[in-house]
Symmetry: C2
Subunit: 305 residues, 2 copies
C-alpha cells in the first residue's frame, strides 16, 4: 500500500481503497470527450472500506451504486435517485472516480459483498445491473425471443444474463472469439456476415455502440416491437425515423440498473464472467490499461489497486 493522497471524506461518505476496477466503454468515451468529464474515471469497482462513520463497514469488501443522489428532491422521494437532477456520478459527473488508490462514495451507496463472491466476478456487478435494467423497463415474459446485437462487453453480459434468466436469446455479432463465450454459456449465437433477419423480432437490444447497429436493430424489429438502446455513443448518429414511425416501433433508452436485482446472478457460473477478462494492469499502469481496453478484440481490462 503506497502512501497516496487521501481525498477529504465528507460526512456520510466512506473512504474506499481500490481492490479491482473494470474499464467500461463509457470510460473510453469519456476520454474522447463524452460528457465533458475531466478527472479520474472509473465506476466499476470492488474496494475495501478504509474509513466510514458507520464503523461496521470498515475493512469490508464492497461495490457501490455510482449515482450520488441529493436525497432531497421529488425524484429521490420516488426512488428515482438514479435520475436525481442534482446527482453526481462516480467517475462520470463531477465526482472523482474509482481508478485511484483512494476515492469516496456515500455510505448509503455501498453494496457489501459476501465472502464467497470472487472479486473478479464482483467487479462485474455494475455492468451486470446495467444489463438487467432492460427487464425493469420492458415487460418481457419468460421464454420471449430476444435479439441481442453486438458482442462487446455489455452485449455478452446481456446475452448470458438473459439466457440464464430463461429468455430465448439470439446473439448477433461480428467477432467469433467473443461470441464463443456466450456460446459456451449456452446462448444461440450467430455470426453476422451478410444480411440480418428483417422485421423478425419483437424485442431487440442494441449493444453495438454504433450507428449501423441501431439501423440494423430498427430493420430487425417487427411492427410494434421494442428496441432497447444499451450503448453509449459520443456525438450524433444519423437515424431514419421513417421505419420507426411506419412500423410504430418503441425505442427505450436504458442505463444503470439496481444491484439488488442482479446480485444473486453474480454467483451463477453460467454467466461466464471470468472468460471476459482479457487483461489485468496495476493501477500505476492505468494509461496502458486504457490503451489496451481500446484495442480491437479486447473485452474487460481490469485495474488492480
Amino acid at each position: 500500500m503506497r502512501d497516496a493522497p487521501r481525498p477529504g471524506r465528507p460526512e456520510g461518505y466512506a473512504l474506499l481503497r481500490l481492490i479491482v476496477g473494470g474499464i467500461c466503454n463509457t470510460d473510453l468515451e469519456l476520454q474522447r470527450g463524452y460528457y465533458g468529464f475531466i478527472g479520474t474515471p472509473g465506476h466499476e469497482f470492488v474496494a475495501e472500506v478504509v474509513e466510514a462513520d458507520n464503523r461496521r463497514l470498515i475493512g469490508r469488501r464492497t461495490c457501490g451504486e455510482i449515482n450520488i443522489a441529493c436525497e432531497q428532491c421529488d425524484w429521490c422521494a420516488r426512488r428515482m435517485d438514479r435520475h436525481c437532477p442534482n446527482r453526481t456520478v462516480l467517475g462520470i459527473v463531477r465526482h472523482p472516480g474509482a481508478f485511484e488508490e483512494f476515492f469516496t462514495l456515500p455510505e448509503r451507496n455501498l453494496y457489501l459483498l459476501h465472502d464467497d463472491v470472487p472479486t473478479e466476478r464482483a467487479v462485474f456487478l455494475e455492468p451486470l445491473a446495467a444489463a438487467n435494467q432492460i427487464l425493469d423497463q420492458v415487460r418481457m415474459p419468460p421464454r420471449t425471443r430476444i435479439a441481442v446485437l453486438g458482442d462487446g462487453k455489455l452485449g455478452l453480459l446481456i446475452s448470458m444474463l438473459f439466457h440464464a434468466r430463461d429468455y430465448e436469446v439470439h446473439h448477433f455479432g461480428r467477432h467469433p472469439e467473443k461470441l464463443a463465450i456466450a456460446q459456451r454459456a449456452g446462448v444461440d449465437t450467430r455470426i453476422v456476415d451478410g444480411d440480418l433477419p428483417r422485421a423478425e423480432y419483437q424485442f431487440v437490444v442494441d449493444a453495438t455502440g454504433s450507428a449501423e447497429g441501431l439501423r440494423d436493430a430498427v430493420a430487425m424489429t417487427r411492427p410494434r416491437g421494442f428496441i432497447c438502446l444499451k450503448s453509449t455513443v459520443h456525438g450524433s448518429v444519423p437515424i431514419d425515423t421513417a421505419p420507426i414511425i411506419v412500423n410504430e416501433l418503441t425505442l427505450i433508452g436504458s442505463r444503470c440498473g439496481r444491484f439488488e436485482s442482479v446480485y444473486s446472478w453474480l454467483s451463477d457460473p453460467a454467466i461466464r464472467l471470468e472468460e471476459m477478462v482479457t487483461d489485468r494492469f496495476p493501477l500505476a499502469e492505468a494509461p496502458r490499461a486504457f490503451a489496451r481496453a481500446a484495442a480491437p478484440g479486447v473485452l474487460k481490462v481490469l485495474i488492480q489497486g
Copy 2:
C-alpha cells in the same frame, strides 16, 4: 362530372368518386422521394361510392381506411392489419391514391359518414385518427400534462383533440397565426422564441417534422418520460442518443389510427377543423394545390372533385 377513365374494380373493391381530398405533409414528402412512390397520391378523402358488390353502399358518402391488408396473414388475424407486411396503402404504397376523379378501395375499408357530418370536417377523419393513435399506444391518464411541439396541421389536430379529451396540453410553435387556432380552441399555446423548458414534461409529442424538433423534444422530456414521434421526415436525422439513454427516455413511433376511435370527435366544434382550411382547388388544378400546400404559413389545402 367529366368522362374520366374509370379504373378496374377488383372483386370486393368499391369504385369511388372523389368529393374532397386533403393534402397531407406525407403527400409533399412523397413528391420529394419519400418511399419511392410514383403514381397518384392522396389518402385523406371524402368520396361517393359509385360501384360496389354491396349495393347498399352505392351513392353513400364515405371515408376510408388507407391500409389495404391481405387478410391472410398472422398480422391481420391479430387485428394488426395496418401493419400487414403484404399491405398496399392508398396513395402511398402500390395503390393509386384519391386525387383522381375515380379510385378504388376494398369495401371493407370504407367508413360511411352520417349525413350531419360536413364533408369539410369529415376529410379530417384520417389525420384526426392519426393524432388519436398516440392514445392507443401510450397510457396517459386524463388531465396528464402533455407538450405538443409543432404547429403544423398534425400538431394542431393533436393539441385540439387532446385538449377536447381533457388533457392539459401545452402547445409550442413558431407561428402565431397557426397557434391562434389552437388557442381559440382553448389550448394553452406558447410561442417559441428562445429557450424551451428543459426536462419538464413526462409526455412530449414531436409533430415538427424536423430534426431540431426531435432534439427539442428530447431536451424537454423528464427522465423516464415518453416522446411520441408523429412526423414523417424524408431521410436521416442526426440524433444524439446520449440523453435518450442517460435519461432512459422512451421514443414511440406513431402512424395511422382507427377511425372508429375518433369519429365522434369529428362533431365536436371545439376541434376547429374549418379554421385549418387555408385553400381549396378543383381537381384539375391539383399541381397548383400542391404548390400552395408547400408554401410557408399554409395549413390544409383541399382538392375538390
